[in-house]
């Protein structure tokens, strides 16, 4: 159906793709797998006409094609869900979904009604319960991700590329998406599916294409593949997934949160958080699970002092009452927060790797009142090494790094502050299995060094892998607590389903 032959793509400095060939078969889900920076997104961008300049050729329905822009690709019937959200924040869901293909009345006026209805259908199909007229800016990342999916479904293309569509959404939405994918398969469409979540691949993928360092390693049928064999192909060597050896007998309380509650920014009498209390022990890893919209992010942000005007409740660190009014205070109190949306809240994309990593600890980077670039460089190099960040130099602009590597930089910049309590919101979103493993190791190691760690995640395997203790949230309240060894997938999920449905 869609064949790419000897595609080579260079960016100033980097060779992202190097003689890559791949075939997308109709009626099948073609999984494209590879580590961060392997070149997956770049390849997909070429297929969908984002990059017009590349070597090699693309054959679509036995016709050689060369798309100059996305519009041509769309017209030809190739739709893509980009890894990075591409929505207009101040336009509504409808307006975004129909952007560039508006329906107009005979007088050339926008036919808002019809578009609204069409959108409503799509949203229902995707089980996203927001009004078509909500502005994107007011949606959470997860909800935005779903809108992106809807956007791709609107033009019923023959080839649908999904670049990490599930990175920001949780179980329930994933289920919905998969059912839709099944449907698309029946309609005999070709689907390219990129994800770092192996379990998903086994659920839906029929074929796999492995990329490594910009080269196509091999492709074949998913049948008969195992975790290890896939990882083997991706990484080029064995790696064993760490499992938390459940440690008990930690007693020294590090952080204790009492009756935290938070008003909704607009609907003043709505509570996003309802008297939440929990304790975190020294060296403990506390996993917080919940479905999208459970307010886990709000919880972390509130503890981090970002909503001081709307929140109530107390936070104690090492038994000392704190009065955190802002991130500044939180940091000096020994808290660190790795935010959920790296591009929006984590990174200064226009600055280089070094500057981003050092941003939180500049005061330590000074000598005689001036920044000491040697100190900065060595700190940056340290974390580039520790976290295996794939960049050709610490002077590389962050915006040119692959999604996964960007995430590692956010981690690095927070680890640099040597916090007492490290709060991670979706820490491995969009990170490849190998790097994930690195990060798990890191988390465990940090815990052993005595940090208290809170991990918010929508990925059950992840939660189970790292946590000593698991809190489950739904609708702004804690609905259950499990010790690691008596936590199971389904008793967690049960607790996570909101009662009010």
């Amino acid at each position: 159906m869609l064949v790419a032959e000897n595609i080579t793509k260079k960016f100033s400095g980097v060779t992202a793709l190097d003689n890559v060939c791949l075939e997308l078969h109709t009626g099948k889900v073609n999984a494209i797998i590879g580590e961060n920076g392997a070149g997956k997104s770049t390849l997909m961008k070429i297929l969908s006409g984002v990059y017009a300049e590349y070597d090699g050729r693309i054959v679509f329905k036995n016709q050689p094609v060369r798309f100059q822009n996305t519009r041509q690709a769309q017209a030809a019937g190739i739709a893509i869900i980009h890894q990075e959200l591409n929505l207009i924040p101040y336009l509504s869901v409808t307006e975004n979904i129909f952007l560039g293909r508006e329906i107009t009345t005979p007088w050339g006026m926008l036919n808002k009604k019809q578009m609204g209805n069409k959108t409503q259908e799509l949203l229902n199909r995707l089980k996203l319960s927001v009004s078509p007229d909500t502005k994107i800016a007011a949606l959470k990342v997860g909800q935005q991700q779903v809108v992106e999916i809807a956007k791709a479904l609107l033009l019923d293309a023959e080839v649908i590329i999904m670049d990490e569509p599930t990175s920001a959404i949780s179980e329930s939405e994933v289920e919905v998406l998969f059912s839709i994918i099944e449907q698309l398969k029946k309609e005999n469409k070709a689907i390219a599916y990129i994800s770092h979540k192996l379990d998903e691949l086994f659920k839906i993928a029929d074929r796999y294409i492995v990329l490594r360092d910009g080269k196509a390693i091999e492709s074949g049928d998913m049948k008969g593949m195992t975790d290890d064999s896939i990882i083997q192909k991706m990484v080029g060597r064995e790696i064993k997934i760490v499992r938390k050896a459940v440690v008990t007998g930690k007693d020294k309380t590090l952080l204790s949160v009492d009756n935290i509650s938070l008003k909704h920014p607009v609907r003043k009498n709505d509570q996003l958080l309802k008297n939440i209390s929990f304790k975190l022990k020294k060296g403990e890893i506390l996993g917080i699970f919940g479905l999208m919209g459970a307010s886990r992010t709000e919880l972390l942000e509130t503890i981090f002092g970002m909503h001081s005007k709307r929140s109530a409740g107390t936070v104690e660190i090492e038994g000392k009452q704190t009065n955190i009014k802002s991130p500044v205070g939180a940091i000096s109190a020994g808290l660190a927060l790795v935010p959920e949306d790296r591009k929006k809240d984590g990174l200064v994309l226009g600055l280089d790797v070094k500057a981003n990593i050092c941003l939180t600890t500049l005061q330590d980077m000074q000598s005689i009142g001036l920044l000491n670039s040697r100190k900065e460089t060595s700190l940056a190099k340290k974390y580039i090494g520790d976290l295996k960040i794939k960049t050709f130099s610490e002077k590389q602009l962050v915006k040119n790094l692959s999604g996964g590597n960007q995430q590692k930089i956010v981690l690095a910049k927070w680890l640099a502050t040597k916090p007492k309590v490290l709060m991670l919101d979706e820490p491995t979103r969009g990170i490849d299995i190998n790097a994930k493993n690195e990060i798990y190791k890191l988390i465990l190691q940090l815990a052993d060094e005595g940090l208290g760690i809170i991990v918010v995640s929508s990925e059950l395997p992840e939660i189970l892998a790292v946590s000593d203790r698991i809190l489950v949230m739904a609708e702004g309240t804690i609905t259950a607590e499990f010790a690691a060894n008596d936590a199971t997938e389904d008793n967690i999920l049960k607790a996570a389903i909101p009662k009010t449905i």
Binding site: N69, T70, I88, A137, P265, E298, M306
Partner: protein, 328 residues
Amino acid sequence: MEAVIPAKKYKLQLAKFQSLIALFVLCLVISLLSDKFLTATNAWNVMRQISVNICISVGMTLVVLTAGIDLSVGSVLALCGAITAGLLKNGIEIPSSNLYIGFTILGAVVAGLLAGSLLGWFNGWAITKFKVPPFVATLAMLTIARGLTMLWTKGFPITGLNESFAYIGTGWFIGIPLPVWISGIIVFIAVIITNKTKLGRYIYAIGGNENAAILSGINIKKIKIIVYSMAGTLAAVGGLLVTSRLDAAQPNAGTGYELDSIAAVVIGGTSLSGGRGSVLGTVLGAIIIGVLNNGLVLLNVSPFWQQVVKGFVILIAVIIDKANAKNE
């Protein structure tokens, strides 16, 4: 700051109303201090006086919505006014072959408007073709157009244009001054465009997130060029109004208008970073400024104090706007 987003959104919806509050307070205060303020004649005066700024500011709004800016409106206004006046009065003479082309009012007016579109188009072209920042491109045009005006007028006003041309700027039609009609119609069209057409939608999209717009297959270069041309044309309309109202084209007309109109846009709640705002907001902004100027004169504030007061009032007006939006 997740949490401010809804706040912003909230403000967005209320923006207009909030400017209305500011405007209302302003009117109240003035009318308490001067009995001359709330009179029909004065009301029409204010309307007539702001009509030029409204024409310009509508164009400016479109440009700013695309996250651009147009500093050249003032000079373009002057040049187009001068061109119309010149053609109307002297026509074109080619000395070599002693050929003379006379112009009807319509002809001259159209020529002026075309000149405006052309200059605007040039802005858009420089910006999209060479990726020159809008600020620089239009700043260059600001000087260029002013220079051309001087060359065209030789530094002297062009006066004594014909009766019926003056009517455009001074006449009335069913009880409403023509300039008000004209600016009103322009506002109406602009509102339609921004809310009801693809073009409008794309303008917001480009300003909101240019990458996303490109990825959605929008031809952003085309849109931008269109927008800057519109801004130029509207500046030309402003030029016509000024010229015909004074029955004279001043070489230095419109100096500093760019700031006035950007002020109207921003006070009207349109964000200079693009993607958010509305034409109606701008209209309110322009009215606020107009009422303010009018009021300061009526209240007999000494010219020197006027500027101080004006500054503070503008500041306060915007703060009132923001007030409701301050949830954090």
